[in-house]
């Protein structure tokens, strides 16, 4: 039985379609990533699966329980960490944790093993108010509170947004460890580089999944010729490449431009000399391996 099964779910706000007939399944113990930009419908999907919102059409089950009719039972079995820090800022670290434990009829001591790794760095601040913690600490506390009742399914809505790169890496390390304990994890993120850390990912755009597969499958199915291009005048380069005959697409990726080439006769060295003739200096053109972001861009076209 699937841990989560979603069947043609739709939801609109007034006349905006947030979700359009979304379907997918998550296997027990899987780390499933929902990857997409802001406004793609990620939070709406989470709110439906955590029983905070009722879908307009379609059905969904979590641990075989219907999100509409069995919402009470689901709430006992899942943990949810909203995108926004939603703990009581005027209560201490310790009070927040034990408060959420008691709401589920359990105690911190009973499930301490599960949160130990995450909560340990917080122990020395346990009498500090939650509002006075740093961003990374807040996130650790929020995760501890979402885990303290030993949920079998964990929903994390953009847990790494606004978190520094080191803490982000830490956080994914924690998720890996939780997965080992058999917890099913659904995590959303706008950061494409985090996608490869998931078992399977769904690329979401405007309320629809474009593709659901393992990150390797998605990268493996990328058929385009992909090059990175760099020069000293990047914005002029972008404008030029976008109108260049034989280049299908051109996007900015950090300090390089990624281009897909339709003209198979074109060679990196040829393109380089053409660009140098057009007045560019320090030109660099080389073939690269596709990333999830390249795949997303291709699918989103």
């Amino acid at each position: 039985m699937a841990a989560i099964s979603v069947n043609k779910i739709s939801k609109s706000y007034r006349n905006i379609r947030a979700l359009q007939e979304i379907s997918f399944e998550v296997k027990p113990g899987e780390l499933f990533g929902i990857i997409g930009p802001d406004g793609a419908g990620k939070t709406t999907l989470f709110r439906i699966l955590t029983t905070l919102m009722v879908p307009e059409e379609g059905t969904a089950t979590v641990n075989g329980l219907d999100v509409v009719t069995d919402y009470k039972e689901i709430r006992k079995q899942v943990g949810y960490m909203p995108g926004r820090f939603s703990l009581y800022q005027d209560m201490t670290v310790e009070e927040n944790l034990s408060f959420f434990a008691t709401l589920f009829g359990t105690t911190v001591r009973e499930n301490y093993d599960l949160v130990k790794d995450i909560y340990q760095p917080l122990e020395k601040f346990k009498t500090r108010r939650a509002g006075k913690l740093s961003g990374g600490m807040k996130q650790k506390l929020a995760l501890s509170c979402a885990l303290i009742h030993k949920p079998s399914v964990l929903f994390l809505d953009e847990p790494t947004t606004g978190v520094d790169p080191v803490s982000r890496k830490d956080f994914w390390e924690m998720l890996r460890r939780l997965k080992k304990q058999g917890i099913t994890i659904v995590v959303s993120t706008p950061y494409m580089d985090e996608a490869v850390l998931c078992d399977r990912i769904g690329l979401i755009r405007e309320g629809e999944f474009m593709r659901i597969a393992t990150p390797q499958e998605i990268i493996g199915s990328y058929q385009e010729i992909l090059w990175a291009v760099r020069s000293s005048k990047m914005s002029a380069l972008l404008a030029e490449l976008r109108t260049f005959e034989g280049i299908k697409s051109c996007f900015s990726f950090g300090d390089t431009l990624h281009i897909t080439v339709s003209n198979e006769q074109l060679l990196p060295a040829t393109l380089k000399s053409i660009l140098e003739n057009n007045g560019h200096t320090d030109v660099d053109v080389y073939p690269i391996q596709a990333t999830i972001e390249d795949c997303y861009m291709l699918l989103a076209k």
Binding site: Y80, S86, Q89, D90, M91, L103, C145
Partner: protein, 372 residues
């Protein structure tokens, strides 16, 4: 049940950690019972009177004496020039000009009548009106006083004189304070028991913490009860403190049964808590909720007969007050406090409040479901 206990524990913890709320809780009854009655007074005192006398006589001297010795009037000027008196009023140092015309005493002693001219600054209508009635009473008194002196000359002993001696029931000293305090106490209940929990719920919405609670097995009903209960408890403690203060400071002991007062208060708190919940259900932000609450506080207070008797409002406005729960509470509180009315006497008010309670609580339950 144990969930409720933990939720309550959390609410109290948060309340007492708040930098403002506990202090306000202590300050509010003190402010309302000790200071407000001085501010909310309709007694008009210190009316400044200027006299315009064209001639001095023993009778006019006696009149001046009579008026200036009253605690309500201050004598500012005795002049012979009406112009000067008027300029005093324009400057604001005189509220009232009493002009005694030439030949007043002669006319009074010969013909038995005399004319006086009274000019009143009516910018403040209430002060003008009340001042007029005070001075009329004073002048009538004056006439009765001098009647005996004049009687042998003018008034035949057969002239009937009606002397009205008022006996003020329920509030013998006509104290406005006695009238205001029972009503002011109700404001405490309104603010503490209905609007404060409503704002608290909205603040959880705004902070997003309500989401985190909603994904736990805590039922909505338990959550709301945990929100209301602390404020009900604190509200009634403050309400009781206010009644004790009223008794100690103003000597205002309810004539009626204290249990009746609490019964009224409890039903009113149910009604207004429901109303507060309705507001919290429709508001997403504190700003929204605050603004709506502010508006309703003004309407509730102004249309309740708190300051001005609603019977003197135009009829259409009186119909509006019929939808104001505070009106029924204030009316009944004054009846129980001052007249010692029992349950039967205030049955109409009780039923109205029960109606409001049912209406708002049902609406609150309905709108809560809708918002999810």
């Amino acid at each position: 049940m144990s969930t409720l206990k933990f939720l309550l524990e959390k609410e109290f913890k948060q309340f007492f950690r708040n930098p403002f709320l506990p202090g306000t809780l202590v300050f509010m009854p003190i402010m309302i019972i000790l200071i407000m009655p001085f501010a909310a007074t309709m007694d008009v005192r210190n009316i400044n009177v200027a006299f315009v006398l064209s001639e001095q006589s023993p009778l006019t001297n006696r009149l001046i004496q009579k008026i200036s010795s009253s605690e309500y009037f201050n004598l500012v000027e005795v002049t012979s020039s009406p112009k000067e008196a008027l300029s005093l009023m324009e400057k604001g140092s005189a509220d009232m000009i009493l002009e005694v015309p030439v030949g007043f005493e002669r006319k009074l002693t010969r013909e038995g009548k005399g004319d006086l001219m009274l000019s009143i600054n009516a910018v403040n209508g209430a002060k003008g009106g009340i001042g007029t009635s005070y001075i009329s009473t004073l002048l009538n008194d004056f006439v009765l006083e001098i009647r005996d002196d004049l009687a042998p000359v003018v008034i035949s002993s057969a002239t009937p004189v009606i002397r009205v001696v008022p006996r003020y029931l329920f509030n013998p000293s006509l104290s406005y304070r006695t009238y205001m305090v029972p009503a002011l106490i109700t404001i405490l209940l309104t603010l503490l028991c209905s609007f404060l929990p409503a704002l608290n719920i909205v603040s959880e919405k705004e902070a997003g913490t309500i989401e985190q609670i909603n994904v736990t097995p805590v039922s909505k009903f338990t959550f709301i009860i945990a929100k209301l209960l602390p404020y009900w408890i604190m509200g009634f403690i403050v309400f009781s403190i206010a009644m004790i203060l009223a008794c100690v400071v103003w000597g205002l002991i309810p004539v009626g049964n204290v249990a009746t007062i609490y019964l009224l208060a409890i039903i009113y708190v149910f009604a207004m808590s429901g109303f507060g919940l309705v507001i919290s259900n429709y508001s997403a932000t504190m700003q929204q909720a605050m603004f709506v609450i502010f508006f309703f506080i003004i309407v509730l207070m102004m249309m309740s007969g708190l300051f001005t008797p609603f019977r003197s409002m135009p009829l259409w406005a009186q119909y509006i007050t019929a939808f104001n729960p505070l009106r029924y509470l204030i009316e009944a509180m004054r009846m129980v406090f001052l007249k010692g009315s029992g349950i039967q006497d205030i049955a109409r008010n009780l039923f109205a409040l029960i109606g409001f309670a049912l209406f708002f609580l049902l609406w609150a339950v309905k709108s809560y479901k809708k918002s999810n």
